[in-house]
Each structure stands twice: as structure tokens, then as C-alpha cells.
Symmetry: C2
Subunit: 171 residues, 2 copies
């Protein structure tokens, strides 16, 4: 089944900058059957794991996270860019190739001991997911696993994470 | 049922700026039962309407849109801020209180004649939804309805739209 998903993901050369071959999941998302398979494959993995919350990372992680949360009967929590969340937040910064970026979570988004899956479309260098890990653990959440649609194995992003990682598709 | 949803949405005063009482749906999204009710109420409305695609508006519209698309067996199409979509795009601009904003859609996101629901969390003045209408119709999509979690009735956003509008909660 992941072969169908792999085939429908579109390669876009030189995005967001020259030399990067971007894995575009919009072609997967707009195909009803592929989208359903994608969500179901993740759901079957987590549906009996007593997951309380899916933490979706802005913005494509919201797509994966919301559908998965609905499917397994969990809540969905948003990790967003600075200034987007309206209530009191915690923040975590991470290094990019040039400069730094910051993510925020509501202070009351997770209760201590809740079982959490972190969800995003892509695991590359792992900087983003490591920052989200810091945010979730800072609130006392128990990270059961991080789940991605696509993982770029060469970049070894999973080595930056202190918990299990699962990806539907590997390049 | 919408009473449960209305009660769980949080009012945040003075966000994003002084004088605005922001309707924060993150408290709804993180509560599994409320989130499920929200998605199901929309799904029951559309499940027998032969909907091909949900068009989700960045970023909270992705939450509503992705879960709804999964539930009714549709695809999910993304409308995003400029520069975020990797392939060829069409764009539409709309006026804000001060200045202008632009949204983009992939040129191949919708096939002519496909039945589309536009999904977002909030209908306020309707400027965003009108721009998305332009994008969807520009690709030949047939807009069956726009669906929102919250509508601020006083702002008369629905008058800006040339198609049916449905909102779960009205203020």
C-alpha cells in the first residue's frame, strides 16, 4: 500500500531553493483513496495505544494530525509559528541552515501524563521535531511516537529524537 | 450538540489586537469528543452530496478540512499563503483592514466540474472566503457550500459569497 502513496507524491525540483528536490504531498492529499489509505495506515498503528492527543506541526502537520486524531478518537493540539496562538504559550527555538526559528504551544494544551503522538508530513534534519519534543515534554506529555508521511533517511533526523519514530514512506 | 461546542470555545480578549474578542477553537480541538462531534456534524451534512474535494484555508482550515475530507471520503486541497505551495499556482488578493493579502492554489488542484466544499474555522468579514471562491471557480470547481465552525453574524461575511454558507456556531 505505501507503494501507491510513494507513486502519487510529486517531486518538485529546486523548491524551496535551488538543489532541493521537494516531496509534494498535495497530489496525495487531493486523491481521496490515497488520503484515506495514508490516514488508515497510521490509525491502525495507534488505535489501541490509548493515545490522548495528536500534536500537529504547522501547517502540513495539521492535515495529517487532524485526520488521524479524528480517526482514532484523540484530540488535536496545534504547534504554531510565533504569535499565532492566542492564549499563553511556551516556545522552543531551533537552528536552521541559516538562522533560527521558533515554535509555540499553548501552556494548557497537554495535561501531565497524557499520551501523545507528534505528527508532521516530513522528517528531514529533525530540528523541528526536536523542538516540538521539547514543547511536549515541557508540559509533561508522554511521547509515544513521532509519525511522518515521508522520511528522508540520509538526513538522519530520527537520531535527534529521544523516542520512537515511524514514517510511512522512506527516501 | 452545538451548545457543547459553543461552551468549549475559549474567548481571548484583545487578540490579535486590542478590542477584538478572539474565538479560540484550540480548546475544542484538543477535546476528543467535541472534536469528533464537530467533524461529524459537518460530515452528516455532506456525506450524500457527492463531494469530491474539501478546500482547506491555511492554517486552521486544514484542521477542519482534513478531518472532514477523511470522514466523507473526499480529497483535501490546500489554499496557502504566497510561496508555500511548491508547484504552479493561481493567486487571488483580498483587502484587509489595512493593506492586502494574497492566497494561492495549485493550478492542478481541482478538475473542472468537481464538487467542492470550502472549509475554514471562522467566517468574519468574508474577504478570505471570497478570495478562495475566486480561486476555486477559476479552476472550474463547483462550490456546493462553504462550511465554518464559527460565524460572526454581525460582520455579514456570507453576503460576500455567491453560494450557500453553513456554520455550526453563530455569535
Amino acid at each position: 500500500m505505501p507503494e501507491r502513496l510513494k507513486k502519487i507524491i510529486r517531486d518538485v525540483p529546486d523548491f524551496p531553493k535551488k538543489g532541493i528536490l521537494f516531496k509534494d504531498i498535495t497530489t496525495l492529499c487531493k486523491d481521496p483513496l490515497s488520503f484515506q489509505i495514508m490516514v488508515d495506515l497510521l490509525a491502525h498503528r495507534y488505535i489501541d495505544k490509548k493515545i490522548d492527543l495528536i500534536v500537529g506541526i504547522e501547517a502540513r502537520g495539521f492535515i495529517v494530525g487532524a485526520a488521524l486524531a479524528y480517526r482514532i478518537g484523540a484530540g488535536i493540539v496545534l504547534v504554531r509559528k510565533p504569535g499565532k496562538l492566542p492564549h499563553k504559550t511556551n516556545s522552543a527555538s531551533y537552528t536552521l541552515e541559516y538562522g533560527e526559528d521558533t515554535l509555540e504551544i499553548h501552556k494548557d494544551a497537554i495535561e501531565k501524563g497524557q499520551n501523545v503522538i507528534i505528527a508532521d508530513d516530513l522528517l528531514a534534519t529533525g530540528g523541528t521535531a526536536a523542538a516540538v519534543t521539547e514543547l511536549v515534554e515541557g508540559l509533561g506529555g508522554n511521547i509515544v511516537e513521532s509519525a511522518f508521511i515521508v522520511e528522508l533517511d540520509d538526513l538522519k533526523g530520527r537520531d535527534k529524537l529521544n523516542h520512537d519514530v515511524f514514517s510511512l514512506i522512506h527516501y
